[in-house]
């Protein structure tokens, strides 16, 4: 009996020592939390994001970490469900005690997580497009991708240059497309654009010729603008060609990946859309400040994963770099200091563009971050 007690005490001591050792070690690591939609409908965005974070955190640790501290990535898959995103954000803050959170693949999951991140006071860099994430500005919330409003502005600017003023919209009636559609209607008058037809389709509709026929028969349409992602825009593009429509077709940045050209095939020829510099990495001018960043990232990503780089992977890369730079400048992982340093991010050249944040702007990208590209012979060609 006595020996049992002795063993028990010994075991407790060892356990306690282990726990203390654990905390001591924790202070020497920088903990980055992430919740991403690696499975579920947004998985084609979340998967490259996760791979990117893992690859660069690994590489960083091999190179000795940040100021001698190891970086630990704690990642959860929210499968695109906002309620799960909330649960995981809570777990990252309360159980894992992370220093900073990167993630929220979709606007829905990001907005849901903000409700727990903001009161807890943890710096949070979202990888989603919706403008609601940073407008109005929230103290602890930042984001790296361009907003849908910027995409609409870029497209309308290009139309204005070409003397187009009467535009027909066809958009997905859910999520990304719906938000983009609403933003487009808001900014159209600023650029003197009149929306003369406004059609929608469901994300999984097999055919949209009916909607396009209606647009075709609307008098005065000078261009068509499609807002959506996934297979929808590819079907719109194919049906557009099928109907022999001759006005220019614009797409949003939601389709800026090679997969879109693969799906839409020849019908994609001549389509114009706003895209990040990463998409046309090789074509950027030699003096373009983004050129070295995007070509290096593209090369590293494609060598590591044997698949085409996507802008979504770039958003995760930018988020990680901005976070690490802020931690370096802050000299500690004190949350308030890191937050203030993220806000001071200035002149960071990322895959998305030139980032200069301010207390009023928690994204820091300007319209010049978008490039107008056109599909020519099955590839993106810089158009402006």
């Amino acid at each position: 009996m006595r020996s049992l007690v002795k063993w028990g005490v010994a075991a407790c001591a060892v356990f306690a020592a282990g726990t203390f050792a654990g905390t001591a070690q924790a202070a020497d690591t920088i903990k980055i939390g992430a919740f991403l939609s690696v499975t579920g409908p947004a998985s084609f965005l979340g998967e490259p994001e996760k791979k990117t974070l893992e690859m660069y955190v690994d590489r960083l640790n091999k190179d000795g970490g940040v100021r001698g501290k190891k970086v630990e990535l704690i990642h959860y898959d929210d499968a695109g469900a906002p309620d799960k995103a909330v649960t995981f954000a809570k777990r990252l803050i309360q159980n894992d005690n992370v220093d900073i959170i990167i993630g929220g693949t979709t606007t829905g999951t990001s907005m849901a997580a903000i409700k727990v991140v903001e009161p807890a006071g943890v710096p949070f860099i979202s990888l989603a497009g919706g403008i609601d994430i940073i407008d109005p500005v929230k103290k602890w919330v930042f984001k790296t991708p361009h907003t849908d409003r910027m995409a609409a502005e870029k497209v309308f600017l290009d139309m204005k240059k070409k003397g187009i003023s009467k535009v027909a919209m066809i958009s997905e009636d859910a999520g990304f497309g719906k938000s983009g559609h609403d933003q487009s209607l808001k900014v159209a008058p600023i650029y003197g654009i009149q929306i003369v037809a406004d059609e929608v389709y469901s994300p999984k509709d097999p055919d949209v010729t009916a909607q396009l026929t209606k647009i075709k028969n609307t008098a005065g349409v000078q261009a068509v603008f499609n807002f959506g992602f996934g297979q929808g825009p590819a079907i719109v593009t194919k049906n557009f060609k099928q109907l022999g429509m001759s006005v220019p077709l614009y797409q949003s940045h939601g389709v800026a990946s090679k997969d879109f050209i693969k799906l839409a095939g020849e019908a994609a020829e001549g389509i114009r859309l706003p895209a990040a510099g990463l998409v046309v990495a090789e074509q950027l001018g030699a003096t373009d400040p983004q050129k070295p960043v995007v070509t290096a990232f593209k090369k590293e990503y494609e060598a590591a994963f044997k698949s085409d780089v996507s802008t979504f992977a770039g958003h995760a890369y930018d988020g990680l770099q901005i976070a690490l730079a802020a931690i370096l400048r802050a000299g500690s992982t004190d949350k308030e200091k890191v937050r203030a340093e993220i806000e001071k991010t200035s002149g960071y050249v990322g895959t998305g563009g030139l980032v200069s944040m301010s207390p009023e702007d928690h994204m820091g990208l300007s319209l010049s971050a978008f490039r107008m590209v056109e599909v020519k012979k099955g590839d993106w060609v810089l158009a402006d």
Binding site: K204, P206, K214, I235, L243, G244
Partner: protein, 291 residues
Amino acid sequence: MFAELLQYLFAGLTSGAIYALAGLGFAIIYNASHVINFAQGEFIMIGGMATSMMVAAGLPLPLAIALAVVVTMMVGVALEKFAIEPARNSDVVTIIIITIGASIFLRGLAQVVWDKEFHSLPAFSGETPINVAGATLMPQSIWVVGISVLVIVALWWFFNRTLFGKAMLATSFNRLAAQLMGIGVKKVLMVSFALSALLGAVGGIVVTPITFTNYEAGIMLGLKGFSAAVLGGLGNGLGAIVGGLVVGIAEALASGYLSSAYKDAVAFVIILFVLFFLPNGLFGKKGTDRV
């Protein structure tokens, strides 16, 4: 004016034929077992995904199609053997729930085995639209309609002219009596799953050039196919085709003449309306319960 209407009808025909083909698969399993197989959409997805993956890997299209059909049928048989058969003494409802579980499992498997991207196939006879009186139709849509008609004829022949087909019908009417007459009931159930997997695969392959496919494609096709099958009268092949076309054309006309925002609502209102007056669907037999 007429060209516009014709274009809407063509649009409806394209989606309607896709829904119809999806609906036919539900009809067969329902006929043989009174089970609604909610993994039917996943058969469609597997057919499309397997073909496009093999074509991407360099196989010629006909060989890829044949292999994809075989793979899908094997999945169908495995589903029956390992999930449905062990539960054969349970309620129909239990088995339906098992098929829902199977559909989630198959979607997950497709994510792991293949990927999460969208895939396509080249159209079978080119991408030059056919011009009819000012409206256009893609050749692939004709393939979809043609294959649906072919399938319905083949099924009619199978169920009415072959011994095994008749045995399947007999099993669906009265399982015990069929068994007493020497019909291998287990085998019937297995063949019905193989057959509906075959149908699903064929459907998935012909629609992929139009709608594209990814691991989730089965959800939408399954849902619309189920609506088509219910509208036409569950278990009736012709009903599934007519049901699919009605839903597709209603959607197209609604988005053309009303507003595209209401097109799904219009289709569902029609389904509710029909089922209110004809609870067994357009072609369903009147339900008779023996006392």
